[in-house]
Every structure is written in structure tokens, then in C-alpha cells.
Homo-oligomer: 185 residues x 2
């Protein structure tokens, strides 16, 4: 019965593009980027927050999917870590603004989903410890924070053209595991 000329998916994709270019893009700017009137955008997402939440959901889902697909072919724990980072690099390219969008964390669904992903990462780190890939003495929380931070560094390095996109995951994981001192690994 309905006949939308611009699908919901297209809207979200356009919004992601607009917000990637400017994380403070107004509803007007986003609508323009999608190629739709502001009224229409508001019809589909009543408030800006609603749009952000929907976009975050999408990003979290994509993260799940991309990680699952990539990590399926992991040879070992370290390789799994590297494949995961590869996936997260892609997500970061697509949704860079989410790094700063903490407002959406008020949404229970988003908060729960994110918490689950964090827990899964912690599990992977614990597994890596058992496998001797990560030192037992290092707090898991610190490993997670370091990984997060290095991910951000990786995105920036790629954006600045300092590191080729294909190599950033390897470099990042090596930095996390062996550091930048000589004689590692």
C-alpha cells in the first residue's frame, strides 16, 4: 500500500554518509544528503535521537555480522583477533560518528547490545590469555581499552594516508601484542 521512493535502508545509508562527513550534521543537512525533504526525514524518524538510535542499531548488527563472517575462518586466537580488528576497521569507516555519539547509550536496547559485544571481546581476551597469546598479568579491561584506543589510532592513520587500509589490522594487532620495541614476536 505504501510507496516510498526512498527506502528506509537508503535513508539510513544516506544519513550515515552525512554524519560521517560531519558528525554534527543537522536534520536539514542529513535530509539534503539523503536527497529527501526535511519533513519526510522527520516523518520516518520523529526525532534526531530516534534516527541516531536506529543508525546505532544498524551499526551494531553489522558489527555482529561482519565479525562472525570474518572470524569464522580464524586459524588461531591471534588470527581471530586480527580478523576482528579488520571487521572493526570497516565498521569504523562506515560509522565514525558513533565514537562520539554517547547520547544513544541512554537507549536500553543499544546499551544492552553494546554491553554484549564488550563482554564477547572480554571473552576473546580471556581465551587469548589461556592460549598464551596475551599475558595473564595484564588486566582484561586494559587490553580492551588499548584495543579500542588503537582502533581509533588505526582509523586516523588510514584517513591520514599513513598506513594502507589492508595493513592496518596486522600492524595494530602486532602493536597491541608485541608493542613497538625490538625483539618482539
Amino acid at each position: 500500500m505504501g510507496r516510498p521512493r526512498t527506502s528506509r535502508e537508503e535513508m539510513l545509508a544516506g544519513a550515515a554518509r552525512a554524519l560521517a562527513a560531519d558528525r554534527n550534521a543537522s536534520m536539514a543537512t542529513i535530509a539534503a544528503a539523503i536527497g529527501v525533504s526535511r519533513a519526510t526525514l522527520h516523518r520516518h524518524y520523529a526525532t534526531r535521537r530516534e534516527l541516531l538510535v536506529e543508525l546505532t542499531r544498524r551499526a551494531l548488527d553489522e558489527t555482529d555480522r561482519l565479525c562472525a563472517v570474518r572470524m569464522a575462518g580464524a586459524r588461531d586466537t591471534r588470527h581471530a583477533l586480527e580478523l576482528m580488528v579488520e571487521a572493526l576497521v570497516v565498521i569504523g569507516e562506515r560509522y565514525p560518528f558513533l565514537t562520539y555519539a554517547m547520547e544513544v547509550m541512554t537507549d536500553e536496547g543499544v546499551r544492552a547490545h553494546y554491553a554484549r559485544q564488550v563482554a564477547e571481546l572480554a571473552e576473546l581476551v580471556e581465551l587469548a590469555k589461556r592460549d598464551g597469546v596475551i599475558r595473564e598479568g595484564v588486566p582484561t579491561a586494559w587490553v580492551a581499552r588499548s584495543l579500542d584506543a588503537l582502533l581509533y589510532a588505526g582509523w586516523e592513520a588510514v584517513r591520514a594516508g599513513e598506513v594502507p587500509k589492508e595493513e592496518v589490522a596486522t600492524l595494530l594487532v602486532r602493536t597491541l601484542l608485541e608493542g613497538v620495541a625490538p625483539r618482539g614476536g
Copy 2:
């Protein structure tokens, strides 16, 4: 001739406090935090940007001083790195909002000062490479980015109470140099 009841220094300190609590604090909020009327704040710093720039100058100066003081007692390159990180942790606690304040980079003075600091860090990294503390193969830019990112992780970890403030510099530098894998240094 003039008789200011609140000195310029006190204003900047108060503004730093207010902005540390909320990096998007409005002029009204900042003025309230200082304990001064908005009019007075505007009298001293005509625009918000002006205030931010002044605050950034102050932070950059403090960084210079603190780094110089601490690094004076360095035993070796690695220790120098650690002392520098210690200084930067302190600065980060005092001016956390500057991480996001890229608007001030339009100011030539700020830009130049910051560029000098970045260059000095690069020099230190190069020195560390010559001293065998950092692998020659790793791009200096990547080391700098990693250090930056880990600094942010360190601030967050301390704020979250995951790592004691006194240990974060050591942990951070060890992570940067040897990573989190077993068998490093």
C-alpha cells in the same frame, strides 16, 4: 587602577574545571562555575573561541613546563618516555576537553605551538629508535598515534578506577613498547 576581584588566572582555572565536567559547557555555565556573571566573563574573553584559545595556550605552556621538569631526571630514553607520559596524564586530567577542541587549531599560535610539541615527540621517538628502545621498522607517525591513543585509554582507565593513577604511565609505556603478549621485556 583596575581592581578585579577574580583574577584572569582564577577565571581560566574555573573555566578549565567547568569544561572538564562538560566539554560543551556554555558561557553561562562556565561563568557560573567560575562564580562570575556572564557579562564579566564576556568582558574578559569577548568570544567563546577566545576563551578556548587562551585555555589551550595555557595547557600547551603547562605541558612544556611539566614535561621539561619531569624529563630532566630521566635515566635513559625509556625512562624519559615514561616521565613524559606521566606529565601528559596530569595534563589530560586537567584539560580533558582539549582532546575534542579542534576549533582552536585555526589559531596560528596554537597550531604552531602544537606542531612544535608533535615534532619534539617525533624527535624523542627517533632517538628511542637509535637507542634500540623502539623498532626501526615501525613508522614514527604510527608510534605517535599509538601513544596518543593509549594516553586516552589511560585517562579513561584511571577515571573508571581500573588502573591506579600512579601505575598508568608504567603500564602504558610497557604496553606501547612490549605489548600485551607474554615474553616481552
